[in-house]
């Protein structure tokens, strides 16, 4: 009896703080959702409704805003541009970073640590800071107003972090495998291509997922490099749309909601990859 009682009281004592924890955590969940829910509510109202009662439930929901945004060819052009930039950047980053990370993780040469330190220099010069120098250089190379220009710059500034992340993953692959492959007559390239890369597929998808998110959301590079509206990416287009249709808030809300859907869907599918990439980059990996 006595033991049951003490057991109960200890569960109570254990559960009361737990209840408190859930309360606080739920409060933060609420804070996360308020801006999102308000945006979606707003997007389902007419322009007048948005002005008179912007934060009530959208009853009845008005889908006209969505129809209007989806009916604009510009939206689809931006979506396409964003996709092109994202895929171009991601393939470039995964390709270049896996080559460099392999060398840094698995090969020995005299100036290795110097080369490695140079390759992490990009971490100290993020694109936001380097944007004007980059713009001037690209103007001289004739790469402004060109999706290639955006892709090349985004690749360049994604390299450092992702080389680090991939290097960590590659170093975790057992050295014995490499020795065995070399004994069997495999070249360094053969080992990289036939053994390491297939084994490192989770790592590659982590890096790809991180790059996709970063590229998809990036504003400054397209903002600075592109002034033809047919080359706008979604973030840039969203910003321009907001300043152009500033009065029609409901329409802006619909546009913003639609442009955020790909990111959310992607996140729900690739959360594991994104999380493993970020934590591998930050922890010892």
């Amino acid at each position: 009896m006595a033991t049951t009682y003490s057991y109960q009281s200890s569960t109570l004592r254990k559960n009361l703080p737990r209840l408190f924890q859930y309360l606080i955590l739920s409060l933060f969940v609420l804070i996360i959702f308020v801006p999102i829910v308000m945006l979606v509510f707003g997007s389902l109202k007419t322009r007048g409704e948005f002005l008179t009662r912007p934060y009530t439930l959208p009853i009845p929901p008005r889908w006209e805003n969505y129809a209007e945004v989806l009916g604009q060819p510009m939206f689809w052009i931006m979506l396409r541009n964003s996709l092109v930039v994202m895929l171009g950047t991601t393939s470039g980053v995964v390709f270049i970073c896996s080559l460099a990370a392999f060398v840094f993780a698995r090969m020995e040469f005299r100036i290795k640590s110097l080369a490695f330190n140079l390759s992490t220099l990009g971490l100290m010069f993020p694109i936001t800071i380097a944007i004007l120098p980059v713009y001037l250089a690209l103007r001289r190379m004739g790469l402004t107003n060109n999706l290639w220009g955006i892709i090349l710059v985004q690749v360049a500034f994604q390299l450092s972090g992702n080389i680090l992340i991939l290097r960590g993953f590659f170093m975790a692959i057992p050295v014995e495998l490499q020795d065995a492959a070399y004994i069997d007559g495999c070249t360094a390239f053969g080992f990289f291509w036939r053994i390491l890369l297939p084994l490192a597929r989770p790592a590659l998808s982590a890096v790809a997922a991180l790059t996709m998110v970063a590229s998809w959301n990036e504003l400054l590079v397209p903002l600075v490099l592109v002034d033809k509206d047919t080359l706008w990416t979604l973030p840039l287009g969203t910003m321009q749309f907001q300043s152009q249709y500033g009065q029609d808030l409901a329409l802006v809300a619909a546009f913003v909601t639609l442009s955020s859907i790909p990111a959310i869907v992607f996140y729900l599918f690739a959360e594991r990859q994104i999380v493993s990439g970020l934590t591998a980059g930050a922890l010892k990996g």
């Binding site: 945006l39 100290m124 010069f125 993020p126 994104i274």
Partner: protein
């Protein structure tokens, strides 16, 4: 040498393979590093050197730079009250991040711990804002911060409390930085929480158990076991947070344009304004160089001070 040739004998491979192998390895190294270094050279090193040159000129971006002004641009930047305001705002964001945002993320990570039922759910939700673009985040919060309580949700909630008046938020010289900081926290605390959660996961459970058996209470457990073992994660998170505050741009540019009256100016918006609105490209280049130096100085001192540059080489 001895060992290498011995193993080759064992392999029964011809003796001369050793040097072709070496050549081949070197070739692999060069070819594999080449693309990355070409990118660095073209899009990082060359632009920065070029801007270093332009920063010495009074140049509006058309034609060659001819009006050489030596270090005048730098002198002007360092005496410009608005630039100093931008630096101050950057520091303010750093201080607020380190004193509020990171402790909050850490507290939430500890709260979720390693076994709270639903921890993955909370992580998913809290990290979600990270995948929204800054553009989307800015527009969402613009709606909420509308000073008219009929339109802005925050004021609408606020005036439900008796005696509280609606606030101007982004329109106020004193409130605007706080408002922006709330948005930054909303967007980024999930990232730091994620890092802390992963760091906590990495602490061997036995250490905590041993300490508990030795009679350590919760507080002692936290200060003597958990926090020290979380050290490298905390250092990384601080590093990312400070470098991140240097890079704040889109949120500020869309929500306030650095206003009202430069009250929310940050270095990136300052540089953008001079470079791409006024097209003082020589001056803008100088601003970029100053920002690069600040970033470099911070990275190097931080690495030296904490002596464990985890994010750079601890992997």
């Amino acid at each position: 040498m001895e060992i290498a040739s011995a193993s080759e004998d064992v392999l029964d491979s011809p003796r001369q393979t050793r040097s072709p192998r070496r050549v081949q390895d070197n070739l692999t190294i060069v070819l594999f590093l080449l693309p990355a270094f070409v990118f660095f050279l073209l899009f990082l090193v060359y632009p920065i050197l070029q801007s270093l040159y332009y920063s010495l000129f009074n140049w509006k971006g058309f034609g060659p730079a001819v009006d050489f002004v030596a270090l005048d641009n730098f002198k002007r930047i360092l005496t410009d009250r608005i630039f100093m305001k931008a630096v101050g705002n950057g520091l303010l964001i750093v201080v607020l991040s380190l004193t509020l945002q990171l402790p909050l993320s850490l507290a939430l990570a500890l709260m979720v711990g390693r076994d709270l039922p639903g921890r993955v759910f909370f992580r998913t939700i809290f990290f979600m804002p990270y995948v929204f673009s800054e553009v989307i985040t800015a527009i969402m919060w613009l709606f909420l911060y509308n000073p008219d309580p009929e339109r802005g949700f925050i004021n609408a909630v606020l005036i439900l409390i008796p005696g509280v008046k609606p606030q101007p938020w982004l329109g106020s010289l004193t409130q605007v930085m706080g408002c922006l900081f709330v948005v930054l926290t909303w967007k980024y605390f999930g990232l730091h929480m994620l890092l802390y959660m992963a760091g906590l996961q990495n602490i061997p459970q036995e250490i905590g158990e041993a300490a508990r058996i030795d009679g350590a209470n919760r507080r002692q457990l936290l200060t003597y076991i958990t926090l020290p073992l979380l050290g490298s994660t905390i250092r990384t998170s601080v590093y990312l947070s400070v470098l991140g505050s240097l890079q704040v741009f889109a949120l500020v540019w869309i929500m306030t344009l650095g206003g009202p009256v430069n009250a929310s100016e940050v270095m990136a918006t300052y540089m953008y304004r001079f470079s791409f609105v006024r097209f003082w490209l020589g001056y803008g280049s100088a601003v970029a160089i100053v920002m690069l130096l600040i970033s470099l100085a911070f990275s190097l001192t931080y690495q030296r001070l904490v002596r464990q540059p985890d994010y750079l080489s601890g992997m």
